[in-house]
Symmetry: D2
Subunit: 289 residues, 4 copies
Amino acid sequence: MNTSYGSFAIIGGDKRQLFCARSLSDDGYAVTLGGFDSIARMKNVEITTPFEAALMSEVIILPLPCLDSKGLIPAPFCRENITLSDDLITAMKGKKIFCGMKQRLESSCSLLTPYLYDYYEREEFAVCNAVATAEGALEIAMRNFEGTINGAKCLVTGFGRIGKSLMKILTSLGADVTVSARKPSDLAWIELMGAKAVRTDELYKEGPYDIIFNTVPAHILSCVLLAKIALHAVVVDLASGEGGVDKYAAERLGITHIHALSLPGKAAPKTAGEIVKNTIYHILEEDDR
Amino acid sequence: MNTSYGSFAIIGGDKRQLFCARSLSDDGYAVTLGGFDSIARMKNVEITTPFEAALMSEVIILPLPCLDSKGLIPAPFCRENITLSDDLITAMKGKKIFCGMKQRLESSCSLLTPYLYDYYEREEFAVCNAVATAEGALEIAMRNFEGTINGAKCLVTGFGRIGKSLMKILTSLGADVTVSARKPSDLAWIELMGAKAVRTDELYKEGPYDIIFNTVPAHILSCVLLAKIALHAVVVDLASGEGGVDKYAAERLGITHIHALSLPGKAAPKTAGEIVKNTIYHILEEDDR
Amino acid sequence: MNTSYGSFAIIGGDKRQLFCARSLSDDGYAVTLGGFDSIARMKNVEITTPFEAALMSEVIILPLPCLDSKGLIPAPFCRENITLSDDLITAMKGKKIFCGMKQRLESSCSLLTPYLYDYYEREEFAVCNAVATAEGALEIAMRNFEGTINGAKCLVTGFGRIGKSLMKILTSLGADVTVSARKPSDLAWIELMGAKAVRTDELYKEGPYDIIFNTVPAHILSCVLLAKIALHAVVVDLASGEGGVDKYAAERLGITHIHALSLPGKAAPKTAGEIVKNTIYHILEEDDR
Amino acid sequence: MNTSYGSFAIIGGDKRQLFCARSLSDDGYAVTLGGFDSIARMKNVEITTPFEAALMSEVIILPLPCLDSKGLIPAPFCRENITLSDDLITAMKGKKIFCGMKQRLESSCSLLTPYLYDYYEREEFAVCNAVATAEGALEIAMRNFEGTINGAKCLVTGFGRIGKSLMKILTSLGADVTVSARKPSDLAWIELMGAKAVRTDELYKEGPYDIIFNTVPAHILSCVLLAKIALHAVVVDLASGEGGVDKYAAERLGITHIHALSLPGKAAPKTAGEIVKNTIYHILEEDDR
């Protein structure tokens, strides 16, 4: 990576952003942390206030999401709230700002543009996080299932990025993998890649399974289906929002059921931070061209 | 499996033996548990005293090891000690007895023969448990390492059964895998199977690693080597006995270090129990021939 | 497969269509061949004229393409030309007709509708043929390259269906695989799946390669690039039409260069015929719903 | 590789030895060919008589086997016979000599020792050639089978080096793979690695297969077994000597049957030559230690 920008401020965020800072610093950039006052020190990285950090740096990196529901910058390592104060806005003005879910920022302060970028919107960010999510889901399944993955009967619902990653991981570990999808071409890929394919509307025909990974953000694992294919299964729900599993039914049926959200940041913050960094690098490179 | 034996007693043992019982019962055999009095009930399986269980069954299954250092049959699910009493010996006499580490039994009671078998001695038992051990080691690594396995720099020392299983699992998850061995032919296999090979006496030349799995039961990960290749690594030591890592050095150096023993029974008791069952089936089949 | 149609006519086509007939017949359907008069006999399959075949069957299957540049139905196993005569059209009228590139048929006879289907247009047809193409390309590479694929430095240009299939095959055989693409998200997938990624506009920076597979239908392998990265390589060009390799340059440079088209039908006619059959089944099922 | 020897003579041999010469020369060593007078020239490599080549070099490399049944050094690129003349023996005396099947040389001339090494005896030579053999066998299967390997029902008899390599290659290409073995531990490995295991004495119970690879040097594919499991199969026999297939039965039954010997040298002479070189390097290194 060759960028003409030499100094980065990381303002707010959790372990993921700390690892992003670590990785930027290891690449030789000057990095300043703002909003991490419960961190005593970090090698080669300066720790100061958000305002100072913004002032000192050419590029500002905000967390994902950049603002929480109260309009604050999420900062679990900071004892005080970080608001998007006028001072902070002034310090950031005219600089390149990277964040996740930039629309939250746009609505509250239009001054910051024209250099506001959203790494969360980038396709390669989603791809890399899908693999980290799949690994995190595997770890959860391993912890909760009393057998080995090798030989376990696994279902993956959905053949998006996460479904694809899970299929690859599970088949290569020797599981007996079924993946559900709707499109005939997806069903063809699944079979060709060594798993069994099942149409989403025929899920009830197969099973029961030892482990079920849901990636579909719709209530497809209904009470009836759970009772049919999941009664003795560990169910790992990766769908955002409400998830895709009827939780009350799962509880009533005594099914081990884990709704796992934001896995990359939790299970692999180091990799998650590097993904943020790499995505920012790509955007900077494209801008330079 | 078609065996002429219809009834099995599981006397003593932990979760692994319970799953062995479960699996035997699911195959249609009459199963009686002895030494599990803290288990209230189990579908289709009778729970009674060791003596009664032995008396009622044609085949007796003892745990691994069959006797602990005090000469008792290990029975964590039993409130009382299970001794190899004269009554129990009489009840088992002339029956087929399966156990782990049979030499411990032979020394204390020579009456039991000639039908005493050791499933732990069987090569296929070791092979299947190696895969379960490798998966358990992966789970430990995932829990302790802050990045993903995909892209992580991993070292596996030793190219025995567990080393081979780990190499396969880690390469298929996309790790950057190095395996150490001594024999040129092992080094050749390692390279041909897609990992990097390093000679055991040249371990110090490579690294540093993110994750190190030791399978060699000798102190190869000395203080000097740890400082050179493991300073920021998660070290999972799978070697039996004292392990292969200088623990005091690891602690002084602040290295995350886990000595993980008996992983199959702990991380995957269901699979471990099925491995016991399958090995017993093999021995019975061979005997029948 | 449960379809209410019981009789199929295969009119025209090569080995692929013969295997399609074989496979339909093995599934229990009545199959009649028309336009295969150089075939003496085929078990359980009737061989007759195109007209009779069409008359006797509920479903008609035409080859890919259904008409050649002269307006004839391609029929290498027939001594005479098969024209789309008025008689033949009448015999097919009102029946379900499956073909490849149906627009060629629509323009010349609009009477045939409304039951005219194009299996070649279907996404799952393309997916399955991509895997067959990748295998055919591997076979060509093996025949022409004097080393093993294991350890060979391979380039795959393009990350479409065929590029993805080739990447999977080559990495799993232990090749050192580089894949070129444009989109950052494709480059991310490539790296995550265990290959090296290179941007299409930076192809000149890597290499040289032992084997190059081109899947991009644009002249990307120019004289300059060939001289830089392909001088000692076997080049397998899979791009349709003119291909993606500067043939004259390749010849001048003495590069082994194979332009391989229609690989599924040539290298794996049995699988290719089954793909035709399965795609037709899917269309019939969807129609029934 | 750091060896104190700077000059190598390649005396006799086929394309494999030529690639060995090429590779040695590329590593920076002085290489002289003897017994290749139908080769006009080779970059950076001198071509002369066997006697001169031996005289000029510190290390002598003879082919595999080093002597044929007539006592000549095999030399397909030489118009004249190469005998182990007194002159040649004198020129080689006291030098390091590498060959395949050294016992043939020992019997005819005991003067050459003590520096006579056999690369063919080395385990890593066999391992690397097993992978090359497996690839060559795959190529033959692809050429002769009319479907894709993906989805094909394949049998591999024997779980030695070649069987292991074939199992890995075929499963990773998506074939439906069965491997036969005798030992329960081998059967366990096979299942754990994702293939189906069948006991050698129960081969008749499974099948029929699309492709059969035999690696067992015993007549296991008898007439009865062929008729049962191989009637429509492509049979690739890799067993040395007489092979493991009843050829006359295979012919009578109309089974496509290829007895493929010495595949590494034929299908991948470049890799085969590099394997010779690497094995020689290992031996020299061990000697130096």
